[in-house]
């Protein structure tokens, strides 16, 4: 990543954090820096600016890991495997963050940290998939075999994701927007009924966290490459 982009992302994210936390929530917003107060959510609605983009970045990391898995199987270039595992590692970190921010929000809005809502179930399964992925990797010594088998596993796990995102919330009742029995309608994503300024901050946050993911990813892949190089050199000597 270019230096100017890193500076830009830092400023961007800082701006979003300031806006998300400090913009006052009032009943009737008058200026551009006031968010409307949503009954039932109140100040807790601020979490949408952090929780949803982190969950989004988790999915981006997961998809990237799967795409690099497919590329490894096609090209048999070990660098693609390094990319795949870097993305999966970041995905695990983001997944834990998404689970935690979600659990805290659930505690204060729905009464308990964990309710087995369909979306909570899916994020739990995503954690299990990442866990299984890294356990599988640690169980294989040979580098190329490890790369092939973990790529295949990430593809298999990837094809079950639509069942969680689109199918399970339709047949299980849940608390997230878009679940079965939700009066707003059975849509996979919530209908955007946010105020315009909040919507702008929300989308800015989506872009910001995606860029942050790519920044972290570029750091991670570089350290992975160096680590592999060092390992090879010590093996030769």
């Amino acid at each position: 990543m270019k230096t100017w982009l890193k500076i830009a992302v830092s400023i961007w994210i800082t701006g979003i954090i300031i806006a998300g936390i400090s913009f006052p929530m009032v009943r009737v917003p008058e200026t551009w820096w006031q968010f409307p107060l949503i009954p039932g959510l109140e100040e807790k609605a601020r979490n949408i600016i952090f929780h949803v983009p982190i969950s989004w970045a988790t999915v981006v990391a997961f998809v990237m890991s799967m795409i690099y898995g497919v590329l490894y199987l096609r090209k048999k270039d070990i660098d693609y495997d390094l990319r795949s595992v870097s993305s999966a590692g970041l995905g695990l970190l983001l997944c834990v963050l998404a689970t935690l921010t979600g659990a805290i929000w659930a505690k204060f809005n729905w009464g308990s940290f964990w309710n087995w809502d369909p979306r909570q179930t899916s994020i739990f399964i995503l954690l299990l998939i990442y866990g299984a992925y890294f356990v599988l990797r640690s169980a294989i010594d040979e580098e190329e075999r490890r790369a092939t088998l973990s790529s295949v596993y990430s593809i298999l796990a990837g094809v079950t994701v639509p069942f969680f995102i689109f199918v399970m919330p339709r047949i299980m009742s849940g608390l997230h927007p878009g679940s079965l029995g939700d009066e707003q309608g059975n849509l996979p994503v919530l209908e955007f009924k946010m105020a315009t300024n909040m919507l702008i901050v929300f989308f800015a946050s989506l872009i910001g966290f995606t860029l942050l993911y790519f920044w972290m990813y570029s750091l991670k892949i570089r350290t992975m490459r160096i680590e592999r190089q060092i390992q090879h050199e010590t093996e030769i000597n």
Binding site: I125, L136, I140, L156, T160, F163, M168, R170, I171
Partner: protein, 222 residues
């Protein structure tokens, strides 16, 4: 050509299983053990139908896991995988093993279901059409996902313990849907009410078999 060699793989699996009857005996004992643990833990209590339809699928899931994990491990241990690779293409190996696994799991689930219906008197199915169709489609889904996972496991260092860990997250949409459909059959729902569940089960099996056919070559030839 592929059909013929798949059939031969299937017959080979069948014959080599009946020579030792290792998997079959181990599986039957496993079923007896888990069922009796269930019976002991129930005791004189009368658990709800929801809990019972959940435990039915716990028994089926873990029996399937203990039985299917050996599909490719035996091949590697006996050193016959190289011969198979020379003699036939990977698609027929996969299809043959898939059909064998499906029949194994299907027979197993039917045995478990009948034993469950006979032994636990609180568990009474009202709509048998939903119940048996769930068993059939559930075993198809279990077999489709675990065949490719068994192939992955056979190449890893720790062969035994890893299988349920890898299989659980992938099989969870299937298991949740199966439990849901079983609840419907116990509640006495009409067949048309369970159509949604059957659609999910069918699409799961199709998605799994298609993906496995695409990636099996990489695992098998590794």
């Amino acid at each position: 050509m592929i059909l013929q060699s798949s059939y031969h793989i299937f017959v080979k699996e069948f014959i080599s299983e009946f020579r030792t009857r290792y998997a079959l005996n181990a599986l039957l004992m496993f079923v007896v053990t888990t069922l009796s643990i269930n019976l002991f833990s129930i005791g004189h209590d009368s658990p709800t139908q929801e809990i019972l339809s959940g435990t039915l699928w716990i028994v089926i899931f873990f029996s399937a896991m203990s039985g299917l994990s050996r599909t490719f491990v035996a091949e590697e241990e006996r050193g016959t995988s190289l011969t198979l690779r020379l003699l036939t293409d990977s698609t027929s190996v996969y299809t043959g093993k898939l059909i064998y696994n499906f029949i194994l799991i299907f027979v197993l689930s039917i045995i478990i279901a009948i034993a469950y219906l006979l032994l636990i008197k609180e568990f009474s199915v009202k709509t048998y059409s939903i119940f048996w169709l769930t068993i059939i489609l559930g075993s198809a889904g279990l077999a489709s996902a675990s065949t490719i996972l068994a192939a992955i496991i056979a190449k890893a260092n720790t062969k035994g313990t890893l299988f349920p860990v890898l299989a659980f997250p992938i099989l969870l949409p299937l298991l949740l849907t199966c439990i849901n459909a079983t609840k419907l059959s116990v509640d006495g729902a009409f067949f048309s009410e369970a159509i949604k569940e059957f659609q999910i089960l069918i699409s799961f099996a199709i998605v799994m078999v298609t993906t496995s056919l695409l990636v099996f070559d990489f695992v098998w030839k590794d």
